[in-house]
Amino acid sequence: MRPTSESIIPMQDPQGRIPNSVVITTVTRVMMPFIQLYGLYVIMHGHSSPGGGFQGGVILGASFILLAVSHNTEYMEERFSMKQLTVLTSTGVLIYGGLGFLCLLLGGSFLDYSVLPISMPRYMGMLGIEIGVGITVMAVMISIFRDLIYFK
């Protein structure tokens, strides 16, 4: 029997879009944890090697953008809804500024980590703000990408 056009393109979604081939989707899903692990490594290891919050945040954001490109944006939004992304965007800046004000409350100046009551306070303070920067950059990357896709 000759295949009709509907059986050649079997899995159209309600918007009539044709999904990517199974090779692309599978390889992306297999690579995803490694990309995200590398992004976390770049953030957490930014003290001893090149890297930091900005770079690691971009890698994390790019991993979710890769999900959106290889599947579709709804598949990505199952991981992060747009509301969650907006909250995450603010959370990163809040972590950074909150750490600064915490130092202020503990008697130092703004963002003077040496007053934090932990061992190696300046090391840990830097780690904290790198995490904040990473969260903000990741969320902004994803939400800008998604907003540009749906803009008409």
């Binding site: 309600p14 918007q15 930014g46 003290h47 001893s48 090697s49 090149p50 930091g52 919050g53 900005f54 709804e74 747009m82 907006t86 965007t89 603010s90 990163g92 800046v93 950074y96 500024g97 600064g100 703004f110 963002l111 980590y113 190696m120 300046r122 090391y123 303070g125 830097m126 703000i129 790198e130 904040g132 920067v133 903000t136 950059v137 969320a139 902004v140 939400s143 800008i144 907003d147 540009l148 749906y150 803009f151 008409k152």
Partner: protein, 93 residues
């Protein structure tokens, strides 16, 4: 009116050009930044911050306020794109 705007623009640019005359040359070993600030970072950053990566030590500790501004710039960019471009999906409306 256009003449006035041109005059103001040229004036502002000229003032900035005048402002860079007293700035030391790039890489000048006798400039204030290179006589006491850079040696301090190079010699003391490890014992003061326990961070082996000097770039991170300067970026996130000594110049942390600047990095806070950078993060705010990224945040503002994201919020501006949200306000200007965000549309709901067709199936959500």
């Amino acid at each position: 009116m256009k003449i006035l705007h041109l005059f103001l623009a040229v004036l502002a640019g000229g003032l900035m050009l005048v402002g860079i005359v007293p700035v030391p040359d790039f890489g000048n070993a006798n400039s204030p930044a290179n006589t006491y600030l850079s040696p301090h970072y190079i010699e003391k950053s490890m014992e003061e911050t326990h961070v082996p990566n000097m770039v991170t030590a300067i970026l996130a500790d000594y110049r942390s306020y600047d990095t806070f501004g950078e993060t705010t710039v990224v945040f503002t960019a994201g919020i501006c794109v949200l306000l200007l471009l965000r549309r709901k999906r067709e199936d959500e409306q």
